[in-house]
Symmetry: C2
Subunit: 162 residues, 2 copies
């Protein structure tokens, strides 16, 4: 199963493609999309173009997208949601099923504590994927969301007796 983890950001959107085979997870590719443009709508259009190229190149079976908002500034949350809307529309257009996870769900699944620090998530990403060094921060966050989805599927499968 090819799972695309996505960590939407207002300036940079991290992504990580993880291949889950049995109980092993491999980091196949990762990167950051930085949208450019003279104003906010132009940057959103550029985000659409660049993320579309990533998705059609990677051909994931599904996507795990960090959703909701954990910051303190409501206005930043709205601008972030505008970027996330563009990313979700790209995934919808490409027919990629989307699974949303909140920051607290990712921290809880990865570290066992919904209030964990981001560094702890990055530490577990490195460990679970057997990496020699941590990927850049945005990609590490995206890998954390993808691993959250992969682990939640395992739990569902075990609980469901399948």
């Amino acid at each position: 199963m090819r799972v695309l983890g996505v960590d939407p950001g207002t300036r940079a959107t991290g992504w990580a493609l993880i291949i889950a085979r049995g109980n092993r997870s491999l980091l196949e590719a990762f990167g950051t999309v930085r949208a450019k443009g003279s104003d906010h709508p132009a940057r959103l259009a550029d985000l659409d173009r660049r993320f579309s190229a990533v998705v059609s190149e990677l051909a994931p079976d599904c996507a795990a997208v960090e959703s909701g908002f954990s910051g303190r500034n409501p206005k930043s949350g709205l601008v972030l949601a505008e970027s996330r809307g563009v990313l979700l529309a790209v995934l919808g257009r490409e027919g990629v099923p989307v699974h949303p996870y909140t920051p607290a769900q990712v921290k809880s699944a990865m570290v066992g504590n919904g209030n964990a620090e981001k560094q702890q998530v990055a530490f577990m990403v490195v460990r679970l994927l057997g990496l020699a060094e941590p990927p850049p921060s945005d990609a590490a966050d995206a890998a954390g969301v993808a691993l959250t989805h992969i682990h939640s599927r395992v739990v569902v499968a075990v609980r469901g007796g399948r």
Copy 2:
């Protein structure tokens, strides 16, 4: 000047194309985009397709988009912002300059009171455009945003002495 007013919504996005000539404003066309799809990303992709068709058909010189959020539920605000992000990306892709206005700015410009009721805005839309009857609610809101932009330009021009 062809001004496209846009009132983003989670289920229905109203739009209205107003032609401003000197001190006259004419309602040329209006409508509502209702995105369909089996899930949220599919609906956002459908919103992209349908709104793109509207924008390329109407060829506006600029767009006035209701932005920000006046409701009480922060989660609804984020979902609305996701739709707005898709609409802004379409306008950015088509190269249409975007002018954002908050609900309070629209009410203030149209009725002279940022806390006015929506019905008062609709009443002024009917009056300023010389309509026989009010357009549907979503389109009336969109026309209000377009008229807000047109009037703010007049004020700037008068204040600027041009």
